[in-house]
């Protein structure tokens, strides 16, 4: 089979859920356990080490809060893109998806600025338990934001031509997941002091 | 049953051995029944001309009981096993009888070293005895051990005592044993600890109180003025060598 022809298997839907949406949910499920394992490890350590609160007090809460706001806004754009795709308005969906990706870009810029300040103050990956978790968790999340943005731009390019509109919903789902992970990270890394 | 394969030299060795025997009898029975049933069925229902296969779904009540009854019996056997298993565990690992003596056991790559109180009977004083690879204990004496590691995870195992406990860096783990048979027994490391893991051997020497007192006296070094900051010299001496050399041969 050539790479572009879709097998019959792809078009069937025994569960009533389209395969694309189903696989997105499974990907999200497997991601949840990855982040879940890391977060559970962090929380267990955090409870065992009250002294980490001192390290946590050096994080920039305003930057975290700003990023929360940015990600929530971009998720709204993803919802609107899904609506546009549902009404078969590919170009509009593409526009909204690009706006969502822009949100991701701003998020990463804020993150980069924040990390620069942290590193200037001497807090790096190996500075202590809290900082190791801080950079690992936020870094892994940042990678997911980056990957989401790239996929989103690819989906947007197709959507602009009114192709593969079902993918708009899938990448939106994924983006909401990335958003929700951040909503867990923000209080755990920034607010708990 | 286990004693056929390895001496039992501590008080709780027999608890574990009886538990082992109990499990062996119960699971051995089930294994024989199940294997026997299987081979009998294979023989009985071998393909023969003119005999049709029976159509059985496995939902029939009168057949299902052939599964449900053994099933319940298995659960009963599980309970019979688990209760003593927990009791054995509880008595070995969760509660500690009052200590007569205390030893400190330290694992490092790739040797066991030991610290025990000298003739004064107090740990962390100048006459402490520090040994490498060899631990001398009194028979019929309850020892508490404090297990530590200097580098990686080790596991302090004395098979003849049926004793095993991992040593974790950064923690002190307590446990106990009460040797009840004079002799000299292996100490193993049973947790992968690097390239020398298979060579990390030690000996535990169970002595009569008289022998032990003589050993203590012979090996303890009172604090020497001018050398107090320094660790006391190796006290292993020749006894240890002889044992290790014997083992080599």
């Amino acid at each position: 089979m050539s790479a572009s022809a879709k097998p019959i298997a792809n078009a069937r839907s025994g569960t009533g859920i389209p395969s694309a949406r189903l696989i997105t949910w499974w990907v999200i499920a497997s991601e949840i356990v990855i982040f879940g394992g890391l977060l559970a490890s962090y929380i267990m350590h955090r409870v065992a080490h009250p002294e980490w609160a001192e390290s946590a007090s050096h994080t920039l809460t305003w930057a975290g809060a700003l990023n929360t706001f940015i990600l929530l806004t971009s998720s709204l754009c993803a919802v609107l893109a899904h609506q546009a795709a549902d009404s078969h308005d590919g170009p509009k969906a593409a526009k909204l998806l690009r706006l969502t990706a822009l949100g991701g870009l701003i998020f990463l810029c804020v993150k980069g600025y924040e990390w620069t300040l942290d590193i200037r103050e001497g807090f790096v990956l190996s500075s202590g338990g809290f900082w190791s978790f801080y950079y690992t968790l936020a870094g892994l999340h940042g990678l997911h934001v980056l990957a989401g943005m790239i996929i989103m731009l690819i989906v947007a390019a197709d959507a602009a031509k009114n192709e593969e509109l079902q993918r708009v919903e899938c990448i939106g789902l994924y983006w909401h997941f990335v958003d929700i992970v951040w909503i867990f990270l923000f209080p755990l890394l920034y607010i708990a002091k | 049953m286990l004693e056929r394969y390895l001496t039992a030299a501590s008080t709780y060795a027999h608890w574990i051995d009886y538990q082992f025997l109990l499990i062996a009898v119960l699971v051995g029975f089930w294994l024989i029944v199940a294997e026997g049933m299987m081979f009998w069925l294979i023989f009985k229902f071998r393909a023969r001309d003119g005999r049709a296969t029976q159509y059985i779904t496995g939902e029939e009540t009168h057949l299902k009981r052939w599964i449900t009854i053994p099933h319940i019996l298995v659960i009963l056997c599980d309970i019979v096993i688990i209760v003593p298993a927990i009791l054995v565990w509880y008595n070995i690992k969760q509660v500690m009888p009052p200590a007569d003596e205390t030893v400190r056991v330290i694992g490092q790559q790739w040797a066991w070293s030991f610290q025990q109180a000298g003739p004064d009977g107090v740990m962390d004083t100048a006459d402490d005895i520090r040994t490498v690879g060899e631990l001398h204990v009194k028979v019929n004496t309850t020892y508490h051990f404090e297990l530590m590691s200097r580098d990686v995870v080790h596991s302090f195992a004395v098979p003849s005592f049926r004793l095993k406990q991992d040593a974790l860096p950064g923690r002190t783990i307590s446990g106990w044993f009460r040797p009840n048979r004079v002799g000299s027994y292996d100490i193993q490391c049973t947790q992968m600890c690097g390239i020398g893991h298979g060579l990390m051997a030690g000996r535990i020497i169970v002595e009569t109180p008289q022998d032990h007192a003589a050993w203590l006296l012979h090996n303890s070094t009172p604090a020497v003025a001018g050398q107090q900051a320094l660790p006391s010299p190796s006290t292993v001496g020749m006894d240890g060598l002889a044992t290790m050399a014997e083992v080599r041969r």
């Binding site: - | 490092q108 790559q109 790739w110 040797a111 070293s113 610290q115 520090r130 040994t131 490498v132 690879g133 200097r150 390239i195 020398g196 298979g198 060579l199 990390m200 051997a201 050398q227 320094l230 660790p231 006391s232 010299p233 190796s234 292993v236 001496g237 020749m238 240890g240 060598l241 290790m244 050399a245 080599r248």
Partner: protein, 224 residues
């Protein structure tokens, strides 16, 4: 359609058949040729694999794990010290962390022949140059070296008759570590360690850490 498939799968399989079969047969044939070491030199090289994880395949050592540079060390000295480790004369002190790692490894050697073979192999390794790892004052060390020179020779080349090994060209961190061990009694206190018991009082003439550093710095300037 499926005929084409069949032939495709068949072709992969039959092509991949020949190589493994040839390898298996060839391997069996080759392995039958040699069932063990032919001579001591080969055996020494083979057994030296035991030492490689710490001392490296060129014998250059690894300061991070406390393994000294042993390339080109004299066979008589290697053999003597290995035997001391094997007998528990060295590496049995409570605080000798490096010794406790070394002792089990030499205990893994199967026989005295293997010890001899590996010691001779070590001697054949070409010396590996190394840098210095800490500062010291060689001029101040020169005066202190007079004590050492008596046995180890003015050039630090060692003296087999006196049981004194070559020290010129040995890692400075290793010399310093061993001097400290001799001073504190981690090494050289075992009654069977004849040379160590001679060395220990000599090491104790070094008054302090500076003296150790200086004399080691001086040894580093010696050419064997």
């Amino acid at each position: 359609m499926h005929k084409f498939q069949k032939s495709a799968l068949y072709r992969i399989a039959s092509r991949s058949l020949r190589l493994p079969l040839a390898l298996v047969i060839g391997g069996l044939a080759l392995s039958g040729c040699r069932m063990g070491a032919t001579d001591a030199a080969t055996r020494g090289q083979e057994v030296f694999e035991t030492c490689v994880p710490c001392h490296n395949s060129d014998g250059s050592g690894n300061a991070a794990v406390g393994a000294p540079n042993i390339a080109g060390m004299k066979a008589w000295y290697v053999e003597r010290e290995v035997d001391k480790f094997r007998a528990g004369v060295r590496g049995m002190h409570f605080n000798d962390v490096e010794g406790m790692r070394m002792r089990p490894m030499v205990l893994s050697l199967a026989s005295e022949e293997d010890v001899k073979a590996v010691a001779h192999y070590v001697e054949t390794l070409p010396p590996v140059p190394h840098g210095s790892s800490f500062p010291g004052d060689p001029k101040a060390g020169a005066a202190l070296y007079a004590t050492c020179g008596a046995c180890h020779g003015d050039t630090g080349a060692g003296n087999q008759d006196l049981g004194a090994p070559r020290i010129a060209g040995v890692d400075d961190w290793y010399l310093a570590t061993e001097l400290r061990k001799f001073r504190s009694g981690v090494r050289g206190t075992n009654p069977k360690d004849r040379e160590g018991r001679l060395m220990r009082p000599m090491a104790r003439t070094l008054a302090n850490e500076d003296a150790i550093r200086n004399v080691v710095a001086y040894v580093e300037t010696l050419k064997p």
